[in-house]
């Protein structure tokens, strides 16, 4: 795990939970802005895509067709913002007839690992 921090007390980790489709409401966009801000400020940040949120990971989004910013393009910058822990709920993919081949990022995890992720202590959860 990370080496002990010498300059400040243990920093809370932040988990962003993306539960909504990329377009049609502002939630996904707001969540992305939030996660990029967390990353830019150096907070230890991870992301969980679950329920409708998994639609955000579909490749080949061409949002110019509906005059929106391309959220798949924005999300692909996450590693540059030092956000490398990107998790995807397996059940949510399966319910939507999606598989690992359809998504452009993230590690697919089972429901029990999602529960562990949500339950682990010393973490703030922001849900979008």
């Amino acid at each position: 795990m990370a080496k002990p921090s010498t300059d400040k007390p243990a920093q809370k980790e932040i988990l962003l939970v993306f539960r909504h489709a990329p377009y049609g409401s502002a939630l996904a966009r707001e969540g992305l802005e939030a996660v990029l801000a967390c990353g830019a400020m150096g907070a230890k940040t991870s992301v969980l895509y679950i329920n409708e949120g998994v639609w955000q990971l579909l490749e080949a989004q061409n949002s110019a067709a509906i005059d929106c910013k391309n959220q798949a393009a924005m999300a692909s910058a996450l590693p540059l913002y030092d956000i490398d822990d990107i998790w995807v709920d397996e059940d949510s993919l399966r319910q939507r007839n999606l598989s690992g081949a359809d998504i452009n990022a993230g590690k697919i995890i089972s429901r029990s690992r999602v529960q562990t992720l949500l339950a682990s202590s010393n973490k703030s959860i922001l849900s979008f």
């Binding site: 990353g39 830019a40 910013k69 393009a73 924005m74 692909s76 910058a77 540059l80 913002y81």
Partner: protein
Amino acid sequence: MEKALKLDSDGHLLHLADWTEQAAIQLAASEDIELSDAHWEIIYLLKDFHQRFELSPPMRPLVKYIAQQLGKEKGRSIYLMQLFPPSPARVASKVAGLPRPENCL
């Protein structure tokens, strides 16, 4: 003669499509910067970043991206600070015609 550029309240170009190298020279002059090859390299990399990710990067991601693309020597805040003082992410994005980076400290 210099053409008047359409700017927002932060002095950034209102429309990315208005960007030209001449506009970059004007925008840099407004920050007291004279552009060299080293500047242009970063400017075009920033434009490439914006096209790929539809974002104006703040400092940390910018440094990381430059390190990936141009190597560790240039992917350092001190190098960018020399080129685009006093706030490299803001100043460089301005010269590249991009909106002001959000979450820019």
